[in-house]
């Protein structure tokens, strides 16, 4: 998972997915271009999404004929629990 997070484009993808679930590849590419200045091809973004899906950070579901992507923070929560116990529950900002 750390390898997946090591890439700045993949972190930008997670930033955008954190804002809204169920994004299509088209929406994600537009967000990366307009908000992060990343001109990655659709194919490149698609490959980044495959990496993120493989480590469980991105969930893909089929909605009708559309593929939609969402963030799954589960794997990150495991890290927080391991090294920062007690910070997730009851913690106030």
């Amino acid at each position: 998972m750390f390898k997946a997070l090591a890439d700045p484009t993949r972190r930008a993808i997670l930033d955008e997915l954190a804002e809204r679930d169920d994004q299509t590849l088209f929406e994600l590419c537009a967000r990366l271009l307009m908000r992060h200045g990343r001109t990655s091809s659709r194919q490149a973004v698609s490959q980044h999404l495959d990496v993120l899906e493989d480590v469980g950070l991105v969930l893909v579901r089929r909605d009708g004929r559309c593929r939609r992507h969402s963030l799954d923070p589960g794997p990150i929560e495991h890290i927080v629990d391991r090294w920062l116990p007690g910070t997730r529950d009851g913690g106030t900002p």
């Binding site: 299509t24 088209f26 929406e27 307009m34 659709r42 009708g64 004929r65 939609r68």
Partner: protein, 133 residues
Amino acid sequence: MKLYLTSVFVDDQEKAFRFYADVLGFRPAVDVPLGEHRWLTLTGPDDPDGVQLVLEPEAHPAVPPFKEALVADGIPFASFAVKDLLAETTRLKALGVVFTQEPITMGPVATAVFDDTCGNLIQIAQMVEPSAG
């Protein structure tokens, strides 16, 4: 030269005509029977002399898989300009239109994407006024 036609491939011309006219609000322009299909065009509601949209039958075998691949990745086939994106989105949703991308502002443009029920995704876009100052 100038643009006068643009087209979308539709799985059923009559169904498409109903959607583009009754739901989106386009105006019928030309309707000529051509055997199995029709030469069927519409114009924008406020622009009867403007570019015509052709509702083109997807008769060629290459078209359906092409459309499916675009839809799978959420890619719109056409983009129409609107004055008020949020109002238009609300209006279309009330008519049962399904959106694959909710409205979002990205730089100089705000967009949303919906399903035209005929095998295409369509983007609507509003140019965002640069804020004063």
